[in-house]
């Protein structure tokens, strides 16, 4: 299967939008306009873009606290995403959720969850509803390498397999759980291998290559719609920034050296492993930045010139500037919105109807 021109252009545009949106959010955070935890996506764009573009409008997305880009790719207007980071009434969660809790019911963006390991049960629950209704819909469940150690991973994958639920378990393996490198938090560092414990078909994909990500995701979603039950993909990726804006990320690998001066065999063994991984600059030099990689790819195919790429870059900058302006001008929510939400919010009938097709 080869990915057609238009799609590649859409990918390039979304990846650039993602990169620019996040870096701009970082600026606003530095200025104090965005407060709280802010987990950014630079370095991982190929995963979100390639994966979510493989989903149908009727599919559901369940994401984590590092989900701004997932929402953008799903089609949520940038201004509503940015406004939520600002905590404004026009934000996609009405200013009630914030950066880690983005929801868009109409687009079936079922939320960002901030307690690691929560996306699994939510995803199998939605999938259970889909199965009962015998609909050709799939649920994409996102999670990181660190989240694969939470008990809900085990419990939920078992149930998903037991009942053949339509879930695509998508692991964004960026090799770190905050400051803890994967060799130090998981006995088996190839996350996809754990799926075998539940009879779930799994594969590992280069998450720095948007085309590979997209193709693997399409295949998995096809199998799900064909009734093959849950599928599992591990995307190998890397985040350039710290875990969140509160984290300089200096443990990669500066701190490590210092800390590992404690002499004992196991830490020595780990040190040796740590060194196999490049730091931010090395990644850049190695030229494996996923956005740059796609741009090159398109140039080689003659799909895009340097100028085209520049134009896209310009246009997304404009979009992001407008988003920030929109957020800043937006009003704050009022407490009665909160109280109303507690009393049931908007009605849940639209979805309920589908229960009896």
């Amino acid at each position: 299967m080869t990915i057609e021109r238009e799609k590649l252009h859409r990918f390039l545009r979304d990846m650039l939008l993602a990169r620019v949106f996040e870096e701009r959010a970082a600026e606003e955070y530095a200025k104090g306009n965005i407060v709280g935890f802010l987990h950014l996506y630079p370095g991982e764009e190929a995963v979100g873009v390639g994966l979510i573009h493989a989903a149908e409008p009727a599919d559901y997305i369940v994401s984590t606290y590092r989900e701004h880009v997932h929402a953008l790719v799903r089609g949520v207007p940038p201004e509503n995403v940015m406004a939520e980071l600002f905590g404004r009434r026009t934000g996609m969660s009405g200013g009630m959720g914030g950066s880690m809790h983005l929801f868009d019911r109409e687009r079936r963006f079922m939320g960002g969850y901030a307690i690691v390991g929560e996306t699994y049960p939510i995803a199998i629950g939605i999938a259970y509803a889909v199965s009962m209704r015998k609909l050709p819909e799939a649920v994409i469940c996102l999670f990181g390498d660190g989240a694969a150690n939470q008990g809900t991973f085990h419990e939920s994958l078992n149930m998903a397999s037991l009942w053949r639920l339509p879930v695509l378990f998508a692991c964004e393996n960026n090799r770190y759980a905050i400051g803890t490198e994967i060799h130090r938090h998981s006995a088996v560092t190839e996350v996809y291998k754990r799926a075998a414990g539940y009879n779930i078909p799994a594969e590992k994909v280069d998450g720095m290559d948007v085309v590979k990500v997209h193709e693997a995701s399409l295949r998995a979603l096809q199998r799900i719609r064909a009734g093959d039950g849950p599928q599992f993909i591990e995307f190998e990726t890397y985040r350039y920034r710290g875990h969140s804006m509160a984290d300089p990320g200096s443990y990669r690998p500066a701190v490590e050296l210092k800390a590992f001066q404690v002499h004992d065999p196991i830490s020595a063994e780990i040190r040796e492993l740590e060194y196999r991984f490049p730091d931010v600059d090395e990644m850049a030099q190695a030229g494996i930045d996923n956005v740059a990689r796609l741009a090159d790819h398109m140039r080689k195919l003659g799909h895009a010139t340097e100028a085209d790429v520049e134009n896209v870059r310009k246009s997304v900058h404009k979009i992001v500037e407008d988003a920030v302006a929109f957020a800043k001008q937006s009003p704050e929510p009022t407490m009665d919105v909160a109280w109303r939400a507690m009393r049931g919010g908007q009605d849940g009938e639209i979805l309920t109807q589908q229960a009896n097709p």
């Binding site: 559901y60 369940v62 934000g91 996609m92 969660s93 009405g94 200013g95 009630m96 959720g97 809790h101 929801f103 868009d104 019911r105 079922m110 939320g111 969850y113 307690i115 929560e118 699994y120 049960p121 939510i122 995803a123 199998i124 629950g125 939605i126 999938a127 259970y128 509803a129 889909v130 199965s131 009962m132 008990g151 809900t152 085990h154 419990e155 939920s156 078992n158 149930m159 037991l162 009942w163 929510p333 919105v337 909160a338 109303r340 939400a341 507690m342 049931g344 919010g345 908007q346 009605d347 849940g348 639209i350 979805l351 309920t352 109807q353 589908q354 229960a355 009896n356």
Partner: protein, 331 residues
Amino acid sequence: MAEELLYWQALNRALDVEMSEDESVFTLGEDVGLYGGTYRVTEGLYAKYGEWRVRDTPISENSFTGLGVGAAMAGMRPVVEIMTINFALLALDAIVNMAAKIPLMSGGQFQMPLVIRVPGGVAKQLGAQHSQRLEHTMMNVPGIHIAVPSTPQDAYWQLRQAIASSDPIILLEHEMLYFSKGPVDVTADAPDLHRAIVRREGSDLTIVSYSRMAVLAMQAAEQLAKEGIAAEVIDLRSLSPIDWDTCAQSLEKTHRLLVVEEDCRFAGAGAEIAATLVERCFFVMEAAPVRVAALDLPTPFNGTLEAASIPRLQDIVEAARSLHQPAAPQA
């Protein structure tokens, strides 16, 4: 046209009716299907509705409760059975961080029509780990509603109302009440899900209680009547929200408050009940409120000690007596 039903039968009937009327209602939990439910509440439903609507789950409380949350977000009306409240500790993230918070975190985009049924309370020598009372923990979670039926009729009404509601509701069923019998009129109009009921009128003091202890409080009131003490007994029926007006009205009349709970005394459900009622009724109260509650101790296995660790009929009667004729205030 009321029929005599056991508490579990009333719950079974309510669940059956709701499932037959709305295809989006389904139940899941450990051994609810093939086995028919530990306390028989789901008996016969597996054969009638099939395994997708009566789902036996693995022993994975946090995830199957979270499954209920996800299904509710997708428009279903899940009734999750956690085999006993003791295991609900494993599912608190799904209850507290998901079910209770998603409606607000989503800015009101999602409702949470989720019912969680949990048998609980102190039964007979099940040991410390199986004698949990978590009403207080659940009460402290804004967004979670809690119903505590003490009769088969309330069990029937409140389960049906809980399923019909769009809020996340925990139905706390007491393990010692499943085989208690009582009249159930399926045609009668139900009082509001969260309305308290004055089970017995009296003018000398007000006993506020719920679940199994409300039954014990009624027996105590009868005994007290023989001694000429007229106790008014209020069965809260709901622990969140609490029907304060019904309690306050009673205190205007009796001026004395006795709270009876099976929860451990320290920071138990009774603390909130006493605190709020004192705040509301301070100037009509003629004596300090009294709480009769469980000892602040994990439940000992030995039967005699277990019985002594929670309120007994006599404990209630004696507390009521001394509240009625208080010793001289030591100010």
